[in-house]
Amino acid sequence: MKYIKKVLGEDLRQYTMVVALVALIIVFNIASGEKMVTSSNFQNLISGNAYVLVLALGMLMVIVIGQIDLSVGSVAGFASMVMAITARQFNLPWYIAILVALAIGMLAGAWQGFFLSRLGIPGFITTLGGMMIFRGGVIWISNSISVPVPSELKWFGAGYLPEWGPAFTGMNNSTLLLGVLAIAVYIIIQLKKYARSGDITGEKEEFWPVAVRIVLVTVVIGYMTWIFGSGRPGTSFPIPGLILVILIILYHLITERTSFGRHVYAVGGNKSAAELSGVNVKRTYFLTMLNMSILAAVAGILFVGRSTAAGPADGTSWEMDAIASVFIGGAAVSGGVGTVIATMVGGLVMAVLNNGLMLMGVGADKTQVIKGFVLLAAVAFDVYNKKNRR
């Protein structure tokens, strides 16, 4: 145990969900007759769930400030529908359409942020209103009819990285390059960190845990690279997955390494204390809601790209999946607690459940029931753990 702690850090609880995720994958792989861990299924899993994980990134910050956003599905649907109409009916190029979608997200976020931060109306109410307004808006402007999107947009929802270079690698070289880069960056960060350790406390860390970490991560990333890269020719690590990874890194940095991120946690942890420490609480509320709706627009773009048309019902009940991911990831309803990485693990647990049950031929009805139980179990386990630690 002591050795495991040295490698993974003092707080092992954060790995509970990782263990659960791995266990789920293994169990489903066996139960489905090894249909789970295949290139095509993993590619499918990622591109089919990227939009939920993107929503969960924003939802995490909303929940950390102690609010909730029920409107994300409707905003995503509205933004992507406007995007589709812009491209189709006004014949504007695809990149203008994307900018329009993002602008819609921004406006929706500013609208909701205004009611929360300036008028003090709780996010639950503000976004319940937004949920109805934007859902109604989608149906209104589309006349309840799906609108196809230009083929360029499909790249964002279902595209793959280019094929190039030698064939002897036996896999997609773009994916291979990404994997190698990821491993290299990780090694550099770890070594730099090791070199600096002890500068402050005077106690140099031991080297072997660093080495074990590097080996572990190299194996995991290497295996993932193989899985994603070795599919049928023309496929790779999916584009929506790449966008998701970039956003995860970005939001990990925002939440952990910027003043704004610290303010988000401060406001959620103790609003009065945050205010007396010079945090602009209203601004923090506003920006968090604004950010959520922009990410909702991004999620809408990814989804529509994959389904090739914007539909009037797109986005229905997405907010629930996003909220569930955040709570399975260990966030607290009272705010102040939760991390980007844990939320992503929570979201992947939901995604793997969906995917695995589908592979086993379980119907959508029963899947829903099982997901509900998993959410309850995960949160109950977390609450129980916290109580016992005291």
Partner: protein, 509 residues
């Protein structure tokens, strides 16, 4: 033997883990009188009243309570209320969204065949309101009433329970002058109807106006008690009894090095946001010099915290004018951010509610008010964060296993040190410390005192707000007294003593 007494509390002793809150307190209250209880903050007045009203049930204290000649053993508030003892707390306990009628009969509804008889309730409410001199519709929603009126409704509620002994805990602390006068008149009226009142109050002028007898409690003991004659009270005698104790040598030696005036506040006015017309600060005017520790003395509710918080970015009340000069230059401070920019720091009185995010670690808390200082190329630098936290852990002698642990795992004294590090990290020129040693044990207090001296020696201007007079006398170089939002006195600490201060804290000069 209980002749003439409605209540006798004999040899009441109440201990909390590690603290003896009351020891052998005796209180005898005559029938149909107004009995005042006074004492410093934390002297044990409220504890005594909680024992009486059954908040601390029979068995959790030693001693006897004899009410109307019978020994009582209340297990909860319900039982004491049934006997006719009703307590009205400082903070009103009514439900703001409900009507006067609903509040008065809350938990005590007039029920017929399972349904509430509203006509009956409204009729009785009207009678009760008349009795307290309140001419309003019984259907009025509580939140639409002023604080003074709400208090009268509380008393009406007490009357509905056939009250014999009414306990009022600092009844006028949140009222403006005319409402206070009304309330005191009502108390005299109730006395004529044979209802006894116990009034806890700091305000000697009010005690002089209405009470028949005064009991003084200090450090959990009854120290003095005498009848008030014909509306006259010997204030000096009460003050002496309230403060009584000697200053022990609990404060480190220190020779101040006082420089130029750093902070100068003039004509500072703030109105209570909840009670129109009530001023939290009235024309406050004071200054603090570099290297100087300036104490602010005042009883609870006098407006010390309100003054400080309104200076620190106007985070309380409605600002009604006034100027702040720092190093002789007038500055505009409209938010906490402005205050921090102008090198002000404020360590709030309630550590857990206002000072800390209890979910955070020591290092995150330390840097939280000055994140820019730990940035490298725009991103927070964890090495700098750790280095800063380590620096203050060492210099403030904070006891913890490492700076990564949560602040919720620390003792009160160490938590306070973390709050202090957080504000020292903003490199302030002016440091406002609001009750910095509340809830901290004696040893840790001494360390905090030494830190305050170190900070003063670095040339910082320090404002020390405290309810403990010995602390102010032991620490401050100069002391201001506050009473009802007004600065009533200023004197060098060496010329001050507890009696002088207490006098200025209780009477408008």
């Amino acid at each position: 033997m209980s002749d003439g007494y409605i209540l006798q509390m004999k040899n009441i002793t109440k201990t909390f883990p590690g603290v003896k809150a009351l020891s052998n307190v005796t209180l005898e209250v005559s029938k149909a009188s107004i009995h005042a209880i006074c004492g410093e903050n934390g002297a044990g007045k409220s504890t005594l009243m909680k024992v009486l009203s059954g908040v601390y049930p029979h068995g959790s204290y030693d001693g006897h309570i004899i009410f109307e000649g019978k020994e009582m053993a209340f297990k909860n508030i319900k039982e004491s209320e049934r006997a006719g003892i009703v307590i009205i707390h400082q903070e009103l306990t009514m439900i703001p969204e409900l009507s006067v009628t609903e509040n008065i009969f809350m938990g005590n509804e007039i029920v017929e065949r399972g349904l509430i008889n509203w006509d009956q309730e409204r009729k009785k409410t009207r009678e009760l309101l008349e009795a307290v001199g309140l001419h309003i519709n019984p259907n009025t929603i509580i939140k639409n009433l002023g604080v003074g009126q709400q208090q009268l409704v509380e008393i009406a509620k007490a009357l509905s329970k056939n009250v014999k002994l009414l306990i009022l805990d600092e009844p006028t602390s949140s009222l403006n002058e005319s409402d206070s006068e009304n309330l005191l008149k009502l108390m005299l009226g109730l006395k004529k109807q044979g209802i006894t009142s116990i009034m806890i109050s700091h305000k000697l002028n009010e005690i002089a106006a209405v009470s028949d007898y005064v009991t003084v409690i200090r450090d959990g003991q009854t120290v003095d008690g005498y009848a008030v004659e014909a509306g006259k009270v010997d204030e000096n005698k009460i003050i002496k009894a309230m403060v009584g104790r000697e200053i022990e040598n609990r404060y480190p030696e220190h020779t101040p090095k006082i420089g130029d005036v750093v902070l100068e506040v003039s004509d500072w006015n703030v109105e209570d946001a909840k009670v129109p017309g009530k001023m939290l600060c009235k024309n406050s005017r004071f200054n603090v010099r570099a290297g100087e520790i300036v104490g602010f003395a005042g009883l609870m509710g006098a407006g010390r915290t309100e003054l400080m918080r309104s200076l620190f970015g106007k985070t309380i009340g409605i600002f009604k004018g006034g100027t702040i000069r720092i190093h002789g230059r007038e500055v505009k401070i409209d938010s906490v951010q402005d205050a921090i920019k102008n090198k002000l720091a404020y360590v709030p009185e309630d550590r857990k509610v206002l000072g800390l995010n209890l979910l955070d670690s020591i290092k995150k808390t330390t840097v939280s008010a000055n994140l820019d200082k730990i940035k490298t190329r725009g991103l927070l630098d964890f090495d700098k964060e750790r280095a800063a936290a380590e620096k203050y852990r060492v210099s403030l002698r904070t006891k913890c296993s490492n700076v990564g642990v949560g602040v919720n795992t620390l003792s009160g004294g160490n938590q306070q040190k973390v709050v202090l590090s957080k504000w020292m990290f903003t490199e302030p020129d002016i440091l406002i410390l609001d009750e910095p040693t509340r809830g901290i044990d004696v040893g840790a207090k001494y360390e905090i005192y030494k830190l305050i001296h170190e900070l003063a020696d670095q040339g910082k201007a320090i404002i020390l707000v405290s309810s403990e007079l010995p602390e102010l006398l032991g620490m401050a170089d100069r002391i201001y007294t506050i009473f009802e939002g007004q600065i009533t006195g200023e004197l060098p600490a060496k010329d001050a003593n507890q009696e002088v201060l207490m006098k200025k804290m209780t009477i408008t000069a």
